[in-house]
Symmetry: C2
Subunit: 408 residues, 2 copies
């Protein structure tokens, strides 16, 4: 097959979209339902329409561009929202590569039996009430409670943020009702890690996506004057967290190599030079592509935290902010992509995804798969996030051929 995407057109789309939501403090800040996001949605709808695709949008703001066909739909896509001060590829590369594939199929009249759709899912980055709002709404796996009670990363309830938009809680919750039957989902995404670059491969065929736990943890002790409370009488919540962070990291590194654990945020109270912290709230993110490892961590980490708390005169508690299971990508999809890469002579490898993606949510309702392209220096979620354009071309060509094969 010599179907090829047009890299110049795809690049120009990516560069156009990157102009929307530029943050004066650096990078791109385009969280879903922000002013920048609403502008980007207009831009995207126009691009889909210009490509001759039929527009559809569900109550969660997931935007679909469709080419008609028979039977279950072959779907591709990703997201156009970003973290604060993020980069221009995490998300948009997949949406706009999908658009480019459909554009090429359209204008070249490439044969496909099934309908084809490209989708942009809302709030993959979880700036609102946790990751994957859009794809969870689409697959009907959204937690109503979290949606209604959760406070967004901006400190306001979701309902308040929706006021400035055409979207509603009810609309989001019913977004899955119109879901078509899906033959397969394929998402192109930047790797966001160093593996492909280190291994000098152009294509990563994802075979597993890590499951994740996001916990909100608290160590509670007793505030005290930093000049008058002797060490032996202190109940310093911060030292409890320090001890936990170091020992939890050692445990994961030693017992579950390849799994990850991160303390990303910590708030010390009362938070002053001269006061021993009486309380610290923190985030704990831990992931594994292995279900067994994830289960072991879920058991061991609270035990470790309680042990440390007992030793240091503290109390420990936590709540689960988010949870996803690890996903195995079906062999028929990874096998199909490997075959294409081999027949085209594209360098490739299989690898797990440590980051979460809409594809893992889609796995609830269809065969779901991912194509990774290398990320320069493994940096993402940062203004410096970058790719090599030729890698994107190869990734998008692989996406094009995979979609055509699935739609035969």
């Amino acid at each position: 097959m010599d179907a090829r995407i047009n890299l110049e057109r795809l690049r120009s789309d990516l560069e156009d979209l990157a102009k929307i939501g530029r943050d004066p403090q650096g990078g791109i800040s385009r969280p879903s339902f922000s002013r920048a996001d609403l502008e980007a949605r207009d831009w995207l709808r126009k691009r889909f329409a210009d490509a001759g695709l039929t527009l559809r949008e569900d109550g969660a703001g997931n935007i679909f561009g469709r080419m008609e066909g028979e039977g279950a739909v072959v779907m591709t896509g990703s997201h156009i929202d970003s973290v604060l001060h993020g980069g221009m590829f995490d998300g948009p590369a997949g949406v706009l590569a999908g658009l480019e594939c459909l554009r090429v199929i359209q204008e070249s009249g490439l044969p496909h039996r099934r309908p084809l759709e490209v989708v942009s899912f809302t709030d993959e980055e979880g700036n609102l009430t946790g990751d994957f709002l859009g794809s969870r709404a689409f697959t009907g796996t959204l937690d109503r409670d979290i949606l209604e009670k959760g406070v967004t990363a901006f400190g306001h309830p979701l309902e308040e943020i929706l006021k400035g938009t055409p979207y509603t809680l009810g609309g989001i919750l019913s977004a899955g009702e119109l879901r078509p039957e899906i033959e397969a989902f394929v998402e192109l995404h930047i790797e966001q890690g160093p593996v492909l670059e280190t291994e000098e491969k152009t294509i990563g065929i994802v075979d597993r996506i890590a499951g994740k736990n996001d916990w909100l943890g608290v160590f509670r002790g007793q505030a005290g004057h930093a000049g008058t409370t002797p060490f032996e009488l202190r109940r310093d919540a911060f030292l409890g967290l320090a001890d936990f962070a170091l020992r939890a990291t050692q445990y994961v590194a030693a017992e579950h190599y390849g799994s990850m654990l991160t303390v990303g945020r910590a708030a010390l109270q009362p938070g002053a030079f001269s006061i021993v912290p009486g309380r610290v709230d923190f985030t704990l993110d831990f992931r594994s592509a292995s279900k067994d490892s994830l289960r072991d961590m879920e058991t061991h980490l609270p035990e470790l935290a309680r042990d440390i708390a007992a030793t240091r005169g503290l109390e420990f508690s936590y709540s689960v902010a988010d949870h996803t299971d690890p996903v195995l990508i079906p062999d028929r999809l990874t096998g199909m992509m490997k075959e294409i890469c081999e027949s085209e002579g594209w360098s490739h490898m299989t690898l797990p995804s440590g980051a979460g993606h809409d594809a893992q949510i889609l796995a609830e309702v269809t065969d779901s798969s991912m194509i990774f392209i290398p990320t320069v220096d493994g940096i993402s979620h940062a203004p410096e996030e970058n790719i090599l354009w030729d890698d994107l071309k190869t990734g998008a060509d692989l996406l094009l051929q995979t979609l055509l094969k699935l739609a035969e």
Copy 2:
């Protein structure tokens, strides 16, 4: 001597003042130059005037009440500002006990040769540009640079906060010009620690005041995706701080017993669930009553931090936000107080002060000393801060007799 203070009157003063600046979130929030503080100043001026004292206020807002006499002045006092969500005794106990002493001397016509003054110093708690703004202005030891460039705990420069008040930077900087010759300074204060209570003593005669360093430290690493950055490639700034906090605490506890070290505040950047912290800014407070210990800590702690940074692929730097030297209280003052306690049969002990106080700033210009009274459960800087009223009576009676002896 059977001069005695009137506890009912002193208690009623303390309870009146505690009504000003009550924080709906708990305790008392009365930082200097806040609306509550301006109201408290009016209240205090009226109390001084009602007691027949001559009012004086310098450019830094230090308020003096004076009884005339010959020669150098014998001075007592403390401060009426508070930390946020603080208690009602830290500061006011000393100012109002001093007022009560002068009131008793006035109305009973107790003999004194020297002038006597009670003072309330501005911003002892350092909510503005570091501790002891008022007493430093009064003693001429204020750092002009910090005053002009420093940002207050409220995030605004001092100059901006002064706009809503009758005070100016120039006035603060020239406050020391009118300083009278001072024979001695005596400050009554709550201990803010557990020692007197544990030892079952009513009076603490302070023999040393700890010196302190307040540092703003930074570990810089590299932000990275929590799901895709392997442990061995991470440069996690928070783990650097965790390691440092634990090892620095161990070092001080082992090598400089009785000295203190506290990490009270830490800000992780970017500060999200799924991002390895690339930077952490933190406060480091360390203190000692021993000049040698303080010097050793000043040398060793940055070495330790740099070692940890080197091991973990981080960079460490710090700046000094505040520094005070340890102060030795002159024997003539501690001896005088011990004699009074012994002749009166008051239980007492000498002890160092781990907390900083205006008295240590006054030591730059006069013989300076402190009387401690017990603090219930050692708790201060908190809404629960409390005392036993009888302890306050004994402390204030000791203050009265000490002032009379010094003013003979």
